[in-house]
Symmetry: C2
Subunit: 318 residues, 2 copies
C-alpha cells in the first residue's frame, strides 16, 4: 500500500481533507462543514476522523501522518489559539485530541500561511530556494517565511503574521482590533474597501458604482478592470502599491530570493503582480534592487492548502 | 599558547581590533584610523595586518581566525558592498584580500549589526534563546535576527536592515536616498531631528532651544531629559513610540522571545526603553502580547562590536 499523508485545511466555512503522496499528488479529497457541530469540538473531531478513515479505506493507502493548516495554528503545541473566524474559542488542543483517534502516526498543525510556504518549498516554486516568503491574499492576509531552508516559526510557534504589520496607524479598522493592518488593504475585502474609497474620491464613470458594497467581490473588480473600467484598474494599482511598499520592508528584514503570492486574489494575475513588482522595486533599499522576484505560487490553487498541510509531515520524512 | 580570534570593527572613523577568547573575554585591543590611507585599500590592509600581528605577538597567543563587522558587509562573499560611510567605493573583496596576509586561518565578515546579534547569542543575553533580534541604535540603525538558533542572512547575505524599513513614506529624507526610514527617527541623529521638530511645534521652555542643531547630540538631549527638560523628555517619548510601533511589526514577522537594544543611544536607559516597551506592547497583535521582552544588550558597550565580530569565528568552532 502506498504511503499517504492526510493534509487538512481548516477554514471558517469548510474543512478540506486530501490524501497527498510524497511527490505532492492529491489522490483523493473530501470536505465537511467546519461549523456543523457549533462549539462541540468532540463531535467535529469524530466526523473529521471518520472522513479521513473513509478516504484511506476507499483508496487502499497507508496513512503515515496528518498535517493540518488552521487559522492561528501553533506548531509548538498543535493548538488553535483564539481563532477569530472559528466557533471554538480560547486555546483548542487540536493535535492532542485528534491523536486519540490516530494514536500511532505523527500529527502536526500550523497556521495556514506557514503551511502554504512549506508546501511551496516541498512541492511548488520554492523547491531549490532556501530563503523566500509566501504571502497569501484571501479573506485575510497570511505569510510564511522560509529562512535558511526552514520555516521560521519564531519563539512561540506563531511567526509570520505579515498581514498584521501596519500600513497606516490611523488607517482602516482591522478585525484584530487595531488599525491600518496590511490585511485591511490587500486582502479580498481590503480590495473591496479600496474600491469604495476610490468611488468616494473620483468622478469617473464606473460599473462599480452600481454594485452595493455588501455584494462587491475582488473578483468582480478584477473582471471590470480587465474590461477597461478605470476605477477598477486604479483599485488594483493602489493595492499593488500598498503591497509592494510593504514587501520592500519584508525584504529589508529577511532578504529573500523570491516572494510567492498565493490565495484567491492572485487569480487577478498581472493586474495585481505588475504594480506589486514595480512598487516593491521602487521602494527597495539599493542593495536589494533587482535581486528579488515576485511570482504566483506554484501550487495549484484548489489544492494549495491541502498540499501545504501535508508538507508539515512530508518535510519531516525527507 | 591560548587560542584567540581577532575581532575587527570597521567604522567610518576608526577600525578597532580586539583579541577575543572563546568565552568572550577581550585580552587586548588596538585601533587605527579607517581613512588613514584614503582610497588606498591595500595600504589600509598592510597597516591592519601589522596591527593584528603586533597584538598577537605582544600577547603571545595563537591566532585561529579573524572576524570582521563592517557596514554593508556581505557574509556570503566577504565583501563590503557600497558602504556609504567608507572611502572604498563599489564592492570591496575584504576577506579575499586580507586572506593574502593570513593565508592559513578562517576569515569571515558580516555587517556590524548582524555581528552584534551573533555576539549577543554567544557571549551576551541571548545565550539560551533561539529566536531574538538585536537593534543597534547609533549613527545609523542596524539589526540582526537570530532565527531557529542561527543568524538570518537571507538569500544574498544582506538580511537585517530594519533601519531601512519605512515609518512614513512621505517622511524624513534618509541617507539611503529614500524617505521615512526608521533610521531617520530613532538613530542618534534621528533623535536630534525629532528635537528640532518638537521645538518647531511647541511653546515650552527648553534648554534645547539654546543649542545649534549642528551641535546637538542625542546624549545632550538625554541628559536634559533627566534634568526635567519637558521637550527633551517628549523627544524620547516620541522616539520610543516610533521604535515600539516598528518593533511590533518585526514581532509579527519573526515572533522573537526577546529584543536587545545596543548602540550608544541605549545609554539613555529607561528614558528610552520604557516608552519603547509600552508602545510595542500597545501595538502588538493580541497573540504576541506579554510574550516579548525588551532589554539592553548584555555585551559591554565598548567591546560589543569586537565581540560580535569575533563571534563570527567562534560560532563556527563551538
Amino acid at each position: 500500500m502506498k504511503d499517504i499523508v492526510a493534509g487538512i485545511d481548516i477554514g471558517g466555512t469548510n474543512s478540506e481533507v486530501g490524501l497527498v503522496d510524497n511527490e505532492g499528488n492529491v489522490l483523493d479529497r473530501a470536505s465537511m462543514k467546519t461549523r456543523a457541530h457549533g462549539k462541540d469540538f468532540s463531535a467535529y473531531l469524530e466526523d473529521l476522523s471518520r472522513l479521513i478513515n473513509d478516504l484511506v479505506k476507499t483508496n487502499a493507502v497507508s496513512l503515515v501522518g496528518i498535517g493540518i493548516g488552521a487559522p492561528n495554528g501553533n506548531i509548538n503545541n498543535g493548538s488553535i489559539e483564539h481563532a477569530p473566524n472559528l466557533d471554538w474559542k480560547g486555546i483548542v488542543p487540536f493535535c492532542e485530541k485528534l491523536q486519540v483517534h490516530f494514536p500511532e502516526i505523527p500529527i502536526r498543525l500550523t497556521n495556514d500561511a506557514n503551511a502554504a510556504a512549506l508546501g511551496e518549498k516541498l512541492f511548488g516554486n520554492g523547491k531549490m530556494i532556501d530563503n523566500f516568503l509566501t504571502i497569501t491574499l484571501g479573506t485575510g492576509v497570511g505569510s510564511g517565511f522560509i529562512v535558511n531552508g526552514q520555516l521560521m516559526y519564531g519563539h512561540d510557534g506563531m511567526a509570520g503574521e505579515a498581514g498584521h504589520t501596519v500600513v497606516d496607524p490611523n488607517g482602516r479598522v482591522c478585525g484584530c482590533g487595531r488599525r491600518g493592518c496590511l490585511e485591511t488593504y490587500v486582502s479580498a475585502s481590503g480590495i473591496v474597501r479600496t474600491a469604495a474609497e476610490q468611488l468616494s474620491i473620483h468622478h469617473f464613470q464606473s460599473k462599480l458604482a452600481d454594485i452595493p458594497f455588501s455584494e462587491l467581490e475582488s473578483k468582480t473588480i478584477a473582471d471590470l478592470a480587465a474590461k477597461g473600467d478605470v476605477v477598477a484598474q486604479k483599485v488594483f494599482e493602489i493595492t499593488g502599491r500598498t503591497l509592494g511598499m510593504k514587501l520592500a520592508d519584508f525584504v529589508a528584514i529577511t532578504s529573500p530570493k523570491a516572494i510567492f503570492i498565493a490565495g484567491g486574489v492572485v487569480n487577478a494575475g498581472e493586474l495585481l503582480l505588475k504594480p506589486v513588482r514595480e512598487h516593491m522595486e521602487a521602494n527597495l533599499l539599493s542593495i536589494y534592487k533587482g535581486k528579488v522576484r515576485i511570482e504566483k505560487s506554484g501550487l495549484p490553487g484548489i489544492d494549495s492548502a491541502i498540499l501545504g498541510a501535508a508538507a508539515l509531515i512530508w518535510s519531516q520524512n525527507k
